[in-house]
């Protein structure tokens, strides 16, 4: 095991994959000479050169389209959007082209590409640069959506995503880049489509992902001291969801709290709650609760920004409501 930061784990993943497979290349804004806005691609330009680490102009629609062209003609591009917020500029390419080509061409081509997108709230970048938009992509058949929360997971899932023959939206929460964690030595993959129980528990199931995984774990630790045993499941992949793991946990604890940073309306929690209600209804001892981002553009003010997304107290209150230790407002 080696200890390293989240961004270093991605960097190392890139080195291994690009050495293993000469068809893998990176493109995006400031990925090359600058070394990446979050240091993720640091050193890769020197190691692999300007063709395999390609700096693009500020033209998301254009260079995502270019990556698609590369993918369908035999290469394995990993394209970076500087922020998930900019995906809206390239949506036609992502949704109408990359996601649908293989299907519409009857399998005549495949689109083996990874689209990396940093996202998240909490660094006072304002409403246009602080969104969590994963649910946009989870809604699109033809895409896979991956969102790891630890250095070990991000390296293994990058490898799996690069090796997958489908377009994979690979989301990295910005507040995770500098967290440190243990990473296994050598080459390894973490499977797409499998959730991870980051903390075992018996009373309540917390379903979460990305940065909120860590907030949830902290809340779980504090609740333990109050005698409440919380199981924290890091979803890791949002499309396809690991339904089996989710329903198994619900069967065990009979209570679900979903913790998500994205806006509550039509967010990931809505899909999770629907699935659990359809397939795990008779295992529920309390209504499903979502702790999520508020229905508001993310404020620029630091204090208001904090209030717009879930915090530890909100999570703990939700857990207690589901145990009827606090009034949930249900009759």
């Amino acid at each position: 095991m080696a200890r390293m930061k989240f961004w270093q784990a991605i960097n190392q993943g890139f080195v291994e994959e690009m050495e293993r497979d000469p068809d893998v290349f990176i493109l995006g804004e400031d990925v090359g000479l600058y070394g990446g806005t979050f240091r993720v691609t640091e050193g890769l330009f020197d190691r692999f050169g300007p063709v395999r680490v390609l700096d693009t102009p500020i033209a998301e629609n254009g260079f995502v389209g270019m990556a698609i062209g590369a993918a369908i003609t035999g290469l394995r591009p990993v394209v970076e959007l500087m922020s998930i917020d900019f995906a809206s500029i390239a949506m036609d390419q992502i949704v109408s082209q990359a996601a649908k080509m293989r299907y519409m061409f009857g399998g005549g081509c495949k689109v083996p590409m990874v689209i990396r997108m940093p996202e998240g709230t909490g660094t006072q970048k304002g409403a246009q640069h602080s969104q969590c938009l994963e649910s946009w992509f989870v809604h699109i058949p033809g895409l896979k959506v991956v969102i790891p929360s630890t250095p070990a997971d991000v390296k293994g899932m990058l490898a799996s995503s690069i090796r997958d023959d489908n377009p994979v939206v690979f989301i990295e929460h910005e507040k995770l880049y500098n967290i440190t964690g243990d990473v296994p030595e050598g080459e390894y993959t973490v499977p797409i489509g499998k959730a991870d129980i980051k903390r075992k528990g018996a009373d309540v199931t917390l379903l979460t992902y990305a940065y909120m995984t860590h907030v949830s774990l902290k809340a779980a630790g504090e609740l333990e001291a109050e005698g409440i045993s919380v199981e924290v499941i890091d979803l890791r992949t949002l499309r396809p969801l690991d339904e089996e793991a989710i329903l198994k946990s619900v069967k065990k604890t009979n209570r679900v709290v979903i913790v998500e940073e994205d806006v509550i309306t039509m967010g990931m929690g809505a899909e999770l709650a629907a699935i659990i209600s359809e397939k795990g209804f008779f295992d529920l001892d309390a209504p499903i609760i979502r702790v999520a981002g508020k229905d508001v553009p993310i404020p620029y003010s630091k204090e208001l920004e904090k209030m717009a997304i879930p915090n530890i107290d909100e999570i703990k209150t939700a857990v207690k409501k589901s145990l009827y230790k606090e009034d949930g407002g249900w009759d």
Partner: protein
């Protein structure tokens, strides 16, 4: 046209049914396909739909009352006029009943008027057998409801600790743990009236023992090989094939060789059957049920095992449907789980034989000229002498024993 709803015949030999619960009251609209009543039959409780839309004009049978099949239990009015006239008729009928009880059938005018006045009174109880709704629907969480149903526990008995008295999973589990008696279990010193299911068993067992000439053949089966093979198979395939599954398969093979055992005596002929449907006696804790595994002649051991498991689970959850327990051609009763050595069971009418299976025990057995320790299981075939002479029964039982002692044949 007003429709009379009659007590339905819900299974082959149902003769009477008990009306457990009304889902609609007089005056309620009933849509086609809506559940009207819950009926208890000899095997199960079933919710029965109404196929005629309209307004419920009369509940002719009260909750808890038992009537023969074909008895009118409800009247559905199609129009308002019909409803009025049916209600009035029922009132007149009830009034006449009351009058007869009061006057012994006399023509006392004063009493008539008195009774006439009652007819339009607000008290509908006497006229239309309207039964009071006991309590209301109990509030419980989905998992609490499911667990209560699985254990046959009524929510009415449980105190809920959730908000506004809602019943939670914990409440149900504590209730079950406390071992509080379920609604139907009597206090020992009192007299227990028989429910439909018990009446059915009484009928069938008496019929069998008074009409079928039983004889019994016993055999000791050495099951060491079978147990070994079962362990290997279950480990290799990650399955849970049971000893009963092996016995079902061994019997199915023997029944194919000796179809006479699969036949039965019917007045003055012996009827052979097309399929081998093996019924397995299951104790649900309250009563004996015998779900049937159909068409065993064409099923390999793994399929028989899966189907048996599903049927047994269904039986324990009290979810068996008529097609699950009808049509058995051969029965198996395995009492081994209770640690009992042998059972000579009672043949089920419309079959000719039943195989009783006892517990497996280590015994001293003879191999060659030496004493060794072996695992032995006693099986007894009860057979109908009208169909099976001793030799026929013996041939069959010998093959069952051979199949179990040479278990590779069960996987063929």
């Amino acid at each position: 046209m007003a429709q009379a709803i009659k007590m339905p015949k819900l299974s082959d030999d149902m003769q009477e049914g008990t009306l457990v619960k009304w889902f609609k009251n007089v005056g309620d609209m009933v849509e086609e396909g809506e559940i009207l009543v819950e009926i208890e039959t000899d095997k199960a409780n079933m919710e029965v739909e109404c196929f005629y839309p309209g307004t419920l004009a009369a509940q002719s049978v009260a909750e808890g009352e038992t009537v023969p099949i074909g008895t009118v239990i409800a009247m559905i009015a199609e129009s308002e006029e019909e409803f009025e006239s049916l209600v009035n008729e029922a009132a007149k009928q009830a009034a006449a009943n009351i009058e007869e009880v009061k006057t012994g059938g006399g023509d006392d005018v004063e009493e008539d008027e008195e009774v006439g006045a009652d007819q339009n009174g607000s008290d509908g109880h006497h006229q239309l057998h309207v039964v009071e709704e006991i309590g209301g629907p109990r509030k419980a969480t989905p998992v609490a409801r499911r667990i209560a149903e699985e254990h046959g526990v009524s929510l009415v008995e449980i105190q809920g600790t959730g908000p506004r008295g809602r019943i939670l999973k914990d409440d149900v589990e504590k209730h079950i743990q406390a071992g509080k008696p379920k609604a139907a279990v009597p206090i020992p010193a009192q007299v227990l009236p028989l429910d439909q299911k018990r009446k059915y068993i009484v009928r069938k067992m008496v019929e069998s023992k008074t009409t079928i000439p039983h004889y019994y053949l016993g055999a000791d089966v050495k099951v060491d090989e079978m147990l070994k093979l079962r362990k290997e198979y279950n480990t290799a395939k990650e399955t849970n094939v049971t000893i009963t599954d092996f016995i079902v398969k061994a019997s199915a093979i023997a029944l194919e060789t000796y179809p006479l055992v699969n036949a039965h005596f019917d007045e003055d002929v012996i009827k052979y059957k097309e399929h081998i449907n093996i019924a397995i006696a299951v104790d649900t804790g309250e009563i004996l049920m015998a779900p049937v595994v159909k068409n065993c002649e064409s099923k390999p051991l793994s399929v028989l095992s899966t189907e048996t498991r599903e049927l047994v689970d269904k039986a324990r959850a009290k979810k068996l449907m008529p097609e699950d327990y009808e049509g058995g051609t051969f029965y198996i009763s395995n009492i081994g789980g209770f640690g009992i050595d042998e059972i000579a069971p009672i043949i089920f009418p419309t079959t000719s034989a039943i195989l009783g299976v006892g517990a497996i025990a280590k015994k001293v057995v003879v191999e060659g000229d030496e004493f060794v320790i072996g695992q032995v299981m006693k099986i007894i075939l009860s057979a109908d002498h009208r169909v099976l002479d001793g030799a026929r029964g013996a041939e069959f039982l010998k093959q069952v024993k051979d199949n179990l002692e040479n278990p590779l044949i069960l996987f063929a």
